[in-house]
């Protein structure tokens, strides 16, 4: 034990000077990692550079030159042409409502399964896990058919209902294992204070599990924002499309030249990067915790 405790200072005193001189490997590793980083981020940089380049500049200097002057017309034209503000609003509303409803539904399910230990809970959990993993192709046609029958086809409502259920299936699976280990003393204390199940849920269980709920909310929001397949099938009219659908459908458009394509890609990337920067801490912590639980 003492040996182990003494080891760290010894290493840290020695390592920096010794390694800097003796170990070119140290820099080789760093360079290799940087090259890989450039390969992964490079395409995004190329997009950004060409989105602000005029078509003439592109024709003359190609995709890799730094733009001679900043040219915003490509982005502005594309924005107006597809009414991008509307698409952003559609995506934002859908993702936000799904995230909120999905978290609420997950909480209710997990309260019954994790804390209530309802009979047959293992089978419920298996069901919810499978529901989340199902390929959407196996649900799409009946959902398309039913939504037409009840008049919800081509409406954000249909998408919101469907994704609330699909996301909460994952949420239930994750949250149940968190609630299974919920401190019993807190529940007992609440019941001694005379709180019923409903009060206990919202006054004790939900506040205590706040961090996990934040992770779920983040996941649901970003996943829903990025969804493509079902929105492509359901949101056919221009005014109802979400960002990925609008961009994905336009891809085959003959009118798109190189700089317009970059412009369209850039305005599709920017919100995603923004969410990534806002949620980064929650995400990187949560991704693993989420999957392992």
């Amino acid at each position: 034990m003492t040996v182990v405790k003494e080891a760290p200072p010894a290493v840290s005193q020695q390592a920096p000077s010794a390694l800097r001189h003796r170990n070119p490997l140290r820099w080789a590793v760093l360079v290799a990692l940087l090259v890989l980083l450039l390969l992964l981020v490079g395409p995004l940089l190329v997009i950004a550079v060409n989105a602000v380049k005029s078509p003439a500049d592109y024709a003359a200097n190609g995709p890799l030159s730094i733009p001679g002057s900043l040219y915003w017309d490509g982005i502005v034209d594309f924005w107006n042409r597809v009414n991008f503000g509307q698409k952003l609003l559609n995506s934002f509303v859908t993702a936000l409502v799904v995230a909120v409803l999905g978290v609420v539904l997950s909480i209710l399910n997990a309260y019954a399964l994790g804390i209530g230990r309802v009979k047959g809970r293992v089978w419920f959990l298996v069901f919810f896990l499978v529901a989340n993993l199902l390929p959407q192709e196996v649900l799409v046609y009946p959902l398309y058919y039913i939504s037409k029958e009840v008049g919800l086809y081509d409406s954000l409502f249909a998408i919101i209902i469907i994704f609330t259920v699909i996301q909460s299936a994952f949420g239930t699976y994750l949250l149940t294992s968190v609630y299974t280990e919920f401190p019993r003393e807190l529940l007992d204390a609440a019941s001694v204070d005379g709180a019923g199940k409903w009060r206990t849920l919202w006054r004790v269980v939900v506040p205590v599990s706040g961090p996990t709920l934040a992770v779920l909310f983040t996941f649901f929001f970003i996943w829903t924002w990025n969804e493509f397949f079902l929105p492509l099938v359901f949101l056919v009219s221009n005014d109802n499309q979400t960002v990925p659908v609008a961009l994905g459908v336009l891809q085959g458009d003959r009118m798109m030249d190189a700089t317009t394509t970059s412009a369209s890609a850039l305005i599709g990337i920017l919100p995603a990067i923004l969410f990534f920067l806002i949620f980064q801490r929650t995400l990187t912590r949560g991704i693993a915790a989420g999957a392992i639980k």
């Binding site: 080891a7 995004l44 499978v130 199902l134 259920v165 199940k197 599709g268 912590r285």
Partner: protein, 296 residues
């Protein structure tokens, strides 16, 4: 005890009703329709196993599953193995020699492609890989390798490999993040003890790193495999399954039968087969996870 549980069962009602409506009923309907001939209008006509016999004799079906095999390689196997090495290097080497900020920076950078909507990923790459105005061919020409320029997505010989490359690019960050978070569980004294015993980096990697993140390893491998089986968005935007079906995948194959060919029964059979495959993998995942938890 039973009375206490009954109260909690009420909380399951909204979730169960919603799942019935959105998951169970559609699932049952699709399986039923897969035994019928149906254009989507009128009444489905029962044809028994006809769709399935036709499916297993359909070269396109086998081709789409063959393509998925290669995509599993690109989306699951390569990212998992590469992610394992990257995570170990970032955590155990960069983190210790350069500081956690550097390791975190690399991790975020590698993860970036994952946060971009898949449709937009498709747009980015169909532009970069475009034969005439695409960046890749222009770069090759600029560095004097113009002879290597190709119609990356338009040539049946290269299209699937190009899609595979895009998918590696897209997927690599996920295992890195997962494995690094798994590594943060490791007691540092394990590594210190190994150092004192004179273990090489490779020995530490094998005996400590790989051993400790086995749970994450299963999760990553299975979730990425399932993601590969379900791939749709990138294929839709990049190639629409072409040229000459060289990048056809089951989900796009089903989509085409549903919405372009009005062969709903046949499309349902395709998606039912895909579902059986994915559910079987999900159960394998549960078993593996369960077993690795018992071992810990």
């Amino acid at each position: 005890m039973a009375g206490r549980n009954r109260g909690y069962a009420l909380y399951l009602i909204p979730g169960v009703l919603a799942s019935l409506l959105v998951i169970v009923v559609p699932l049952v309907m699709t399986v039923y329709v897969s035994f019928t001939k149906w254009t989507g209008v009128g009444d489905p006509r029962w044809v028994g196993f006809d769709n399935y016999t036709r499916l297993f004799g359909d070269t396109l079906f086998w081709q789409s599953f063959g393509n998925i095999g290669l995509l599993v390689f690109a989306m699951a196997i390569i990212p998992t193995l590469l992610g394992l090495v990257l995570a170990a290097v970032l955590f155990d080497y960069v983190g210790k020699k350069f500081g956690d900020r550097w390791a975190g920076l690399f991790r975020s950078g590698y993860y970036l492609p994952q946060v971009i909507p898949v449709a937009v990923t498709g747009i980015i790459w169909s532009w970069i890989l475009h034969p005439s105005y695409g960046a890749l061919n222009r770069i090759l020409e600029a560095v004097g390798l113009g002879g290597l320029a190709k119609n990356w997505l338009g040539d049946p010989d290269y299209a699937l490999y190009s899609v595979m490359l895009v998918m590696i690019w897209f997927q690599i960050g996920y295992p890195v993040v997962m494995f690094m978070s798994g590594l943060s569980r490791i007691d540092p004294s394990l590594y210190e003890a190994a150092d004192l015993d004179g273990a090489t980096w490779w020995q530490r990697f094998r005996k400590i790193t790989v051993h400790m993140i086995r749970p994450e390893f299963y999760v990553v491998l299975i979730t990425t495999t399932i993601a590969a089986l379900k791939i749709f968005g990138q294929v839709f935007v990049l190639t629409k399954g072409g040229p000459s079906n060289s990048t056809l995948v089951p989900s796009y194959f089903a989509y085409k039968n549903f919405f372009e060919k009005a062969q709903v029964g046949y499309g349902s059979a395709i998606s039912t087969v895909l579902t059986v495959l994915i559910v079987a993998l999900a159960f394998l995942f549960l078993r593996l996870q369960h077993r690795s938890e018992e071992l810990r």
